[in-house]
């Protein structure tokens, strides 16, 4: 105690109620003036026992719960869960349904990255990108309105298919949106990505070297920002991704070091463009056919286990289900990308400024619904 009096380091609580901790993350900062010596993230403020709930509800019933994991990318979570259950039960999914699911997932990836763009700008102190990002996200959300009737918790995929077919009007709306997105993307970069203040705030900040990123099990844009071209969509292709032409975007250190905040941000921006490309291909090559396989009302599953990993906007989303032969999972484990990505915060947010901690946290882009589950 006496020794601690002599130091000039103070402990500051950032969160759980703080404007830029993405919900209810609590970070304990050990600061020396403006310098942050160490950051300890404390999680659990949004814990809702998702994995335990999975043991109490049936496979079909758990689908809407997955919406609420990473609530900014519900369609991706739905896709992962549906694929996991289908692998467990060996249900054949119609081709059209697979493509529709991927369409939803990619649209949702754009929406999620747009939100990330906005909040990251806001954390850097620029308010306007937030509203621009939300404006385009709103268009996607309206498309989801037509597609599945919900704006946030889509619950679009179903075991064995999707909930509703894509109507021609919706397809037209999506095309319109994709064209607009191309224009807006340039505007975003003029406003934020290329802004020298923003570049200075993010370049060379919170650098994650590739080996460290792999060692911490980071995935998604956070990993790719460090220059590792690892994307589940390419590395272990699933759904209709093998038939689609897209690129894995990696950070190249355009403005600073490879793996800094700007690279992670830029990977997301590039992925928006790639997802736009994917969506166009899907709309062009959408196969005809049914959108829902015949699935019994009550799924009886043999005692078995399955692990399915998909590329959610924030990284590798894994569902590991163990079944004991009933209609409910015996155990479900969710590998949430945000949770794993958050683990590196303590390592890289050392000896930086308070403002940098915010940027690092923003560039990791965690969603607490997924971290706490």
């Amino acid at each position: 105690m006496v020794q601690s009096l002599k130091t000039d380091e103070i402990l500051v609580n950032m969160g759980p109620q703080h404007p830029s901790t993405h919900g209810v993350l609590r970070c304990l900062l050990k600061t020396d003036g403006e310098w942050v010596r160490e950051v300890w993230p404390y999680i659990g403020y949004l814990h809702r026992c998702k994995e335990k709930i999975a043991e109490k509800v049936s496979y079909i019933q758990f689908m809407p719960y997955t919406d609420r994991l990473d609530y900014l990318a519900s369609a991706n979570n739905n896709l992962g869960w549906a694929m996991a259950v289908e692998r467990l039960t060996s249900i054949e999914v119609p081709e059209r349904a697979v493509w529709l699911r991927v369409l939803a997932a990619e649209l949702n990836r754009i929406a999620s990255h747009l939100l990330s763009y906005g909040t990251f700008g806001m954390e850097a102190g620029a308010f306007t990108p937030f509203f621009y990002g939300f404006r385009e996200r709103e268009t996607i959300v309206s498309i989801f309105d037509q597609l599945c009737g919900a704006r946030l918790t889509y619950h679009y995929a179903r075991i064995g298919g999707v909930m509703r077919d894509l109507s021609p009007e919706t397809a037209k709306a999506i095309r319109r949106f994709l064209d607009e997105m191309d224009r807006r993307w340039v505007e975003y970069n003029t406003l934020l990505s290329d802004n020298e203040i923003f570049v200075r705030r993010t370049a060379n900040v919170g650098v994650i070297p590739a080996d460290l990123a792999i060692a911490y099990g980071l995935t998604g844009p956070v990993l790719r920002g460090s220059g590792v071209a690892h994307d589940i969509r390419k590395a272990a292709p699933y759904a209709c991704y093998p038939k689609l032409d897209f690129k894995v975007c990696v950070g190249e250190g355009l403005k600073g070091t490879v793996g800094d905040c700007w690279d992670r941000y830029w990977v997301r921006m590039l992925e928006i463009r790639e997802s736009v490309k994917i969506c166009r291909q899907i709309l062009d090559g959408l196969p005809e056919g049914p959108y829902q396989a015949k699935v019994p009302r009550i799924l009886k599953v043999l005692a078995n286990e399955a692990y399915v990993r998909t590329e959610a906007p924030r990284g590798e989303l894994g569902f590991y289900i163990i079944s004991d032969g009933t209609d409910k999972p015996w155990r479900c484990r969710i590998r949430a990308p945000s949770f794993c990505n958050l683990s590196i915060l303590n390592r890289i947010a050392r000896n930086c400024l308070v403002a940098d901690v915010i940027m690092i946290l923003g560039s990791i882009d965690v969603v607490m619904g997924e971290v706490d589950r």
């Binding site: 103070i10 500051v12 703080h18 404007p19 830029s20 003036g33 403006e34 700008g121 806001m122 954390e123 850097a124 102190g125 620029a126 308010f127 306007t128 937030f130 509203f131 621009y132 404006r135 406003l191 934020l192 802004n195 203040i197 923003f198 200075r200 705030r201 400024l353 308070v354 403002a355 940098d356 915010i358």
Partner: protein, 374 residues
């Protein structure tokens, strides 16, 4: 012709008393001066309040339109009465002093900050005649009271007994202390060019052909650069984006006024807009010709301004010019705010020490050379 606002007020009082039938000369001198002081002070306070309220509205309106939103538009025409609604709301809000705060200093801090922000209004000229006090030290006086604001903010940060507030206070102190240097250098550039510190003389000096007699163009390029130095330093001094670190919402919650609510918060809010106005008005006075508008100069093409309209109308035209220029510069501040991200705490010092100070020194040297040559 009356020299200052005080004289004008005296004149008005005299006329008013004359109408009633009282002899102004029989009123004791100190009473007359006191009354004039009070009225001038009240007028300035009212002006500050109006400016703050108007820009409180404009800020949100501009933000709304820039961000593809509506902005306030329900209460009154264009939402203009929103301010009144907000003022009423904030006045009836509970005034909270945290239990662990230092109660006396917590109460004192907003007053000091407002004093610092309000003091420069004494020397800001609105037209040739409309100025409260025509101090020969003009600019120097206007800039000196930023110091009071610094102390007030540190006091607020410390008295709140909140770590984020303390951060905000320290950030502002570091920022304002360093930005006084480039600001001073930019002012010196003008002082060298015109040979005065008195704001009225500086403006009178810029009289001439069209806009080319304004300091920005007259001292080209030095005064032109100095204007940017002054304006940027002023932005930092009035804690506006991109230099809004002391109240950086995403980093330190609300900085030094995190714990303030109700009326005390309004005082901080008022001081921010007052400082913004001071910076804008000083920029207009020092570089953009003050109350000289471009149009009268065109009409009087012989290099001399002819106020044929008489003192009252000329004062009005000057006021319109001056307020228009200041408001435009304030609008630019809003525009900046809704465009730029915030700089980091080390970058703000970098920008000051490695960009603005050298630039200011270059401007000063260049202007000195200009002054020697001509």
């Amino acid at each position: 012709m009356p020299g200052t606002l005080t004289d004008i007020i005296n004149y008005v009082i005299q006329t008013a008393l004359g109408v009633v039938g009282l002899d102004y000369a029989r009123v004791p001198e100190m009473l007359r001066i006191g009354a004039a002081m009070l009225i001038a002070c009240g007028a300035m306070l009212g002006y500050v309040a109006v400016v703050a309220l108007f820009f409180g509205w404009a800020e949100r309106r501009v933000a709304g339109r820039i961000q593809a939103r509506q902005g306030p538009n329900i209460v009154g025409p264009f939402g203009l009465l929103q301010l009144i609604a907000d003022a009423i709301k904030i006045l009836v809000k509970e005034d909270i002093i945290p239990q662990t705060a230092h109660r006396f200093l917590f109460r004192l801090a907003p007053i000091l900050v407002f004093m610092g922000a309000f003091a420069p209004f004494v020397v800001l000229p609105f037209s040739e005649t409309l100025v409260v006090s025509n101090l020969s030290l003009g600019v120097y006086y206007a800039l000196s009271f930023a110091a009071l604001e610094v102390v007030g903010v540190i006091m607020a940060g410390w008295a709140s007994n909140n770590k984020w507030s303390l951060y905000g206070g320290m950030r502002l102190a570091a920022q304002m202390m360093s930005y006084e240097i480039p600001m001073g250098l930019a002012v010196l550039t003008v002082a060298v060019l015109s040979g005065h510190l008195n704001l009225r003389t500086i403006v009178l000096d810029q009289q001439g052909y069209w806009i080319f007699s304004w300091n920005v163009f007259r001292g080209f390029p030095w005064a032109f650069l100095a204007m940017f130095v002054f304006y940027l330093a002023g932005l930092a001094g009035s804690k506006r984006t991109p230099f809004d670190l002391p109240e950086a919402e995403s980093e330190i919650v609300a900085g030094y006024h995190t714990e303030y609510s109700g009326m005390r918060f309004v005082i901080f809010y008022l001081s921010e807009y007052a400082t913004m106005y001071v910076v804008s008005a000083l920029t207009a006075v020092l570089f953009l010709g003050g109350w000289h508008g471009p149009i009268p100069h065109v009409l009087a093409w012989d290099g001399q301004v002819h106020w044929e309209a008489g003192p009252v109308l000329s004062a009005l035209i000057g006021m319109v010019n001056m307020i228009g220029k200041s408001f435009f510069l304030m609008f630019v501040m809003l525009w900046f705010r809704w465009t730029y991200p915030r700089v980091r705490v080390d970058q703000i010092v970098y920008l000051c020490m490695k960009v603005l100070v050298p630039l200011g020194i270059i401007c000063l040297m260049g202007a000195s050379a200009w002054a020697l040559v001509w």
